[in-house]
Assembly symmetry: C3
Homo-oligomer: 350 residues x 3
């Protein structure tokens, strides 16, 4: 990587304080087990503090509660965040445009910005707009009338259907499909009549979308992914969905048509969400949950169908005890019957 | 869009009746919130009727029960179907062949139909047959010996393995893979020995398949997707599966090997189906269900493992009450014990 | 297929014994319903033995328990394994290199082995190493500094990010993405700060990966898929995951970050596994299970959250009886109350 920074410089960079020698030079970042002399590592969770003894790292990013160790410390409020920022510092490579390869196919009506990197086998359709410093890897297809904002990166084999709007600093990983037809049919007898999907997709600034994720175009109107949303691999976003700012959508989630997701929401892996509902801001939905109705803001949910987090946990804990409960129930009925008979006979005795 | 139609003409087109002025001209279709003057909108569900007041639409498609409003109505049996047909009327663009781009790679042994649209970076292997008016977008790969029927459209980066048969008017969205090897191994000790997948895939007429869906070739024989089937994004169809006519397979469904799905079946999102079973005609399976055995025709199922719809609903409603039930059970045991002791002591008293 | 073998030769090939005429010639393999005269079929499960009467196959692979039938038998310990080996014998085509197409884009700094097959529209970045007899289908992208071992096959539209190491005899099906950024962010307020993903992916020898599966690169260090692992379609493998030798990962499974899967493990379809846990060797996890903590070796698990197999089965069997149990519970309470009242009044009577 080449870059070297003094520990005290890193502390300034992440708004932390040094315990020990701030003059030592740091040349990289590594996990605690792999770190070598000259590198900095981090401990995000205090339960890993005992591992400190075994690392070869020359310094360690820790939370402010830690005040001493056998080597220099960089103490911060959020060690994980500081790690991310220092790793960015060491790994960042300045953008160098590679130009437009002669094997890229670009319509003469495309509006091209400056300092582009267009690899071989890129296709850009009529009347597209490709802004400054955009990178399109091999096999990227951009359908007619689409626009891609400054500094965006589309990795190999990404497909952008016509009329899609993509913001600035957007990252689309390989195999992402944006703007494919929404899944809309209406039955006429048994036959499925296709509803033309004449809407579009808009992806705002600073969105990142994982490999092989699919975002369908709207039937009418727009499917919209708002600023700062991060979507993992193999996620399905159906037509007319809206995802609010800074939300996190983990791998293999499926969001059905016309559903509105608030801002700063987290949907964990393999969650399914039905269509035409609303999920409030700051909601967290646990892995594999099935969301079947509107979810109120600022709460956690899990289960299929989804329940408030605590309610689900309480119920699922009892689930393995079901056979025992059933057995108890049968025994109780017997005992009860016996008592009733006893009482009945004693009643008659009198 | 350019097209203009009188309301009475639209009524004829969808077999409906006009309430109000049938002479007004309609220039497009839009959702109720976005419709502008000159456009028609629709209300599929009568609960949205109150929204009629706020729309700018010049006319509204409604069901036959609605008989008056403050603007012209188009009354039909199925408003959603009429909407689809009218939208098709306004959005349909006649096919115009773009010819064969010089950057497409086509084996000299390919049989090419008329009026094709073959984009740059298309690859077509030996002895394929591409029928009239087929459109292949950039990055489409068609392996040797495959055939694609009239008017079919394969969007960018679709992969068709060798020996695949694709019918007429088929639409395959970007990233679809057809004919990849089925997942077949047999253990020899701990080692996985690959079972050669020497079968093929057949996709019949009028099938549409969503982005990044995968359809594996058969081990022996055929994987078959019958006429009119519609498959959503990110669906997995394993080797030797058969899906019957007009069935609907929603996003992220997985169907395991050799399973037979009847006709007019609906599998909702994220459903999983085990291998070697049969699902009867007209079955509906709810989202995230896990189908573990044959399902009888004409019924609804949900849950994992799947139960008849009503049975599952009744049980899942009780699920959150499990902790309370368990508590009650423990209390009952105590009370019972107390009674038994009382009876026992009174028995002795006598 | 052209090849013909005597039945006794096949018996030698798979270490079996012939019952009946070992001299008959076999020209191919087919399923029991489709087999024609001259072909061999197989019965892996004795419950299908009655089907023997209806097949046209000239010979049948069966288990050693079967000792007679109306046609020649090939008796083996594992009929399915013998079928796989005989099918391989008949379907195997010797590799014939097609050379390097002039429409492939290959950096001058790539190290190329012998006897390659590089199709049109392949892209290979700087300083890659492509070993002998590798096949890259159209639309394959190989990022800089990656290496691909002998005899590996990458089907159309596979994307390999920079710095990936791929072993020998590896098969990657269409649309596979290897080395995309792991899904790593840390919140700074509500904003998601990206953690640079500077690690890599290593895929060892004899691995096969299904269509549109995604394998993310590590944040730091390596994501590793060990020798002989077989992964189905549409699977998500997150950053820093390790999958042990000979494990089987079925379609649509999702494995979260830093989780370690042992060797010879089976994860059935649509299983989800949380991050930072360990699954022991030889574990089997049932379809749609949700694994939320470490799993001990050599056992079966199912359910979400996953339970030991038998425990889950017992509980899920009771699940549909919940409404009835609840009703019983309410009735019992009433009867109990009545008894308590009776006892109380009789107590007073005295």
């Amino acid at each position: 990587m080449g870059v070297k920074k003094k520990l005290k410089e890193l502390a300034e960079w992440v708004d932390g304080t040094v315990v020990g020698d701030g003059e030592i030079e740091i040349s990289g970042v590594a996990a605690i087990e792999e770190a070598r002399v000259g590198e900095i590592t981090f401990i995000a969770n205090s339960k890993y503090l005992p591992k400190l003894g075994g690392t070869h790292a020359s310094a360690v990013i820790v939370s402010k509660e830690v005040t001493q160790a056998d080597r220099p410390l960089l103490c911060v409020t959020n060690p994980y965040l500081a790690f991310a920022k220092i790793l960015t510092l060491f790994s960042h490579k300045p953008y160098q445009p590679k130009g437009i390869d002669s094997n890229a196919w670009i319509s003469p009506t495309v509006k091209l910005g400056k300092d582009l990197t267009l690899y071989p086998f890129v296709y850009i359709g009529d009347r597209c707009s490709i802004e400054d410093r955009v990178t399109l890897y091999p096999g990227v297809y951009v359908g007619e009338g689409s626009s891609i904002g400054e500094d965006s990166i589309l990795y190999s084999n990404v497909s952008i259907y016509s009329g899609t709007v993509i913001g600035k600093r957007v990252i689309l990983h390989s195999g992402v499909v944006v703007g494919s037809d929404g899944f809309g049919y209406v039955k006429e007898g048994k036959k499925n009549v296709k509803i033309p999907q004449v809407g579009s997709v808009e992806i705002e600034d600073d969105v990142e979308i994982g490999a092989n994720t699919t975002i369908d175009r709207a039937a009418l109107g727009k499917t919209i992914i708002q600023r700062g949303v991060k979507i993992d691999n193999l996620v399905q976003v159906a037509h007319n969905v809206a995802i609010g700012e800074d939300s996190i959508i983990v791998a293999q989630v499926g969001i059905s048509g016309s559903t509105k997701i608030g801002s700063n929401v987290t949907l964990a892996g393999q969650v399914g969400v039905v269509g035409h509902i609303e999920i409030g801001d700051n909601v967290m939905v646990g892995a594999q949950a099935g969301v079947t109705r509107d979810l109120a803001a600022d709460q956690g949910y899990v289960g299929s169908p989804a329940l408030p987090h605590r309610e689900f946990l309480r119920a699922i804990t009892v689930f393995p005890k079901l056979p025992e409960m059933r057995k108890t129930l049968i025994e109780i009925e017997k005992r009860l019957k016996k008592i009733e008979e006893t009482l009945s006979s004693r009643g008659k005795e009198k």
